[in-house]
């Protein structure tokens, strides 16, 4: 009886569905978190009678045939990379990207990772770093005596120091884009890594064609839509329940079979 295993694949898929929803809801307040969504696809079919095969010598063919399905599988869990809302924090080192692009961050092992969570801070040596202490490229150093630091929408970092009338330019923050940003590998801690499927990063100045702008004093909130997630949760729960009903029914049928011929 295949119904048992088919329904099991259905339950597994719905379990993945609930896990993804749980992760989305858990990250509702994570800076720049992107909603994930699972994609389901039907499994291979067993051809009992192939559609279009001949049924007589005069050339009549089977209109539909018999194809037995084997259930469902999770093909992918993809990120929905729409812009999250910008939340005002008034913090000097909070940067939000309005539009496409990622900040580039140097990991302790020297490799690059990418993030849209711009809740940065200063290191003991005055470098702009992430909350984990990783340097935000290109490694902008803020003088200890700076009175104020400002970042314009084009990513230029400037500081006012005592005694100087004009602000000093400290550096330029760049943004990176990917041909397929859904293909980035999530490392956790809001960081992403380049993969085969994301393609190579393309650096650019914020505000240039195709790149977003930087908003100082703002953070990008997650793009999780609670109403949508709860609706999906209800649907997933019901679908899980239905698959388990199929298992019960198939089990009952098998039980009847087993008890046939007794007495």
């Amino acid at each position: 009886m295949r119904a048992l295993s088919i329904a099991a694949t259905g339950m597994q898929a719905q379990q993945t569905n609930v896990e993804v929803i749980a992760n989305n809801l858990a990250n509702m307040n994570t800076t720049a978190y992107k909603t994930q969504s699972p994609e389901f696809q039907d499994l291979l079919y067993q051809n009992v009678e192939t559609p279009g095969s001949q049924t007589s010598d005069s050339g009549t063919v089977l209109p539909s045939g018999i194809q037995l399905g084997a259930g469902v599988r999770t093909a992918a869990v993809y990120r929905i990379t729409t812009q999250g809302a910008l939340e005002s924090t008034s913090n000097t080192y909070d940067f939000a990207v309005q539009g496409p692009g990622y900040f580039r961050v140097v990991m302790p092992d020297g490799t690059d990772s990418y993030t849209r969570a711009g809740n940065f801070a200063l290191s003991p040596t005055g470098l702009i770093v992430t909350q984990d202490g990783y340097t935000v490229e290109p490694g902008i150093s803020v003088p200890a005596n700076a009175l104020s630091v400002s970042v314009n929408t084009q990513g230029q970092v400037q500081a006012t120091v005592p005694g100087a009338t004009a602000p000093t330019t400290l550096g330029q923050i760049e943004l990176d884009r990917f041909p397929n940003e859904a293909g980035l590998n999530a490392l956790g801690d809001n960081l992403f890594q380049q993969t085969q499927s994301s393609g190579a990063p393309q650096a650019g100045v914020p505000g240039a064609a195709g790149y977003g702008t930087i908003q100082q004093g703002f953070l990008e909130t997650s793009n999780v839509n609670a109403v949508q997630e709860i609706t999906s949760l209800i649907t997933a729960q019901r679908a899980y329940e239905m698959n388990s009903k199929v298992i019960t029914a198939a089990n009952d049928m098998l039980q009847m079979t087993a008890s046939m011929g007794q007495g």
Partner: protein, 249 residues
């Protein structure tokens, strides 16, 4: 074995298959653009040897599965907001280039590959009319019109990138399911007419849980009835053996 047993066996085998197809429908309740299938049965009439003293010929009907009918009704449209999520309203399929040749799908959840080419989650390229379609970050916002024309807008200037290939077939039911939401066929793919491509939406599965569950209950009861029939026949056989043995004494 006597005819009653054989006829009920054919019925039980058929209900097993019907149950499998319901299980597959329910398992795919969240698969985009999945089309539900129902098996069809017909009677297979067989002549039987008339009992001694009986006049005329007798026949019994076995159950035979003849095919699975795909319900081609359009599934409900669900908003996903995905830039590369497309639903087809009307009779049409997207053409996809796979390693095994051209395949067709109504599941319009696409993504970009590392070269910016529009492809499925399996990495198969989505076909367009006239050349492959690549979308680079520099193209800006991508918009797909109802006729499948892909265009990009950047700084207020619009440029056309290509047009999605949407096809239809003379006999849609004869398309063969391949899994992964793909269909294959030997029929010629004609450009689809009267179809609308909707961006940011996906066609949901057209499985209706109420129908599947009530069909499932019906199948279970049918199975039970047939199994009771076999049971009755079995005890009759046992009794007749007992009784006949007693006569001999």
């Amino acid at each position: 074995m006597n005819q009653t047993m054989l006829v009920s066996l054919s019925q039980q085998l058929a209900t097993y298959q019907a149950m499998d197809s319901i299980a597959n429908n329910i398992a795919n309740v969240s698969t985009p653009a999945y089309k539900r299938e129902t098996p069809t049965f017909q009677e297979y009439v067989a002549k039987v040897q008339p009992a001694e003293g009986d006049k005329g010929s007798k026949s019994v009907s076995y159950v035979q599965e003849t095919g699975a009918v795909r319900d081609l009704k359009e599934g409900p449209m669900e908003t996903t907001g995905g830039k590369f999520d497309f639903a087809i309203h009307g009779n049409g399929y997207f053409a996809v280039q796979t390693a095994n040749g051209e395949r067709y799908t109504r599941n319009g959840h696409f993504t970009l590959d590392l070269n910016g080419k529009l492809s499925t989650e399996e990495g198969d390229q989505v076909e367009t009319q006239g050349g492959p379609l690549s979308i680079t970050p520099q193209d800006g916002d991508v918009n797909v019109a109802a006729d499948g024309t892909v265009s990009a807008t950047i700084n207020g200037t619009q440029s056309q990138l290509g047009k999605l290939k949407v096809v239809s077939f003379a006999n849609e039911r004869a398309l063969q399911k391949e899994g992964d939401s793909l269909y294959s066929t030997t029929q010629t793919a004609n450009p689809a007419t009267n179809v609308k491509v909707v961006q940011g939406m996906l066609e949901a599965s057209n499985v209706q849980p109420v129908i599947e569950i009530s069909n499932m209950i019906e199948i279970m009861r049918t199975y039970q009835a047939t199994s009771n029939l076999s049971q009755t026949q079995h005890s009759q056989d046992m009794q007749s053996i007992d009784k006949l043995a007693q006569v001999q004494d």
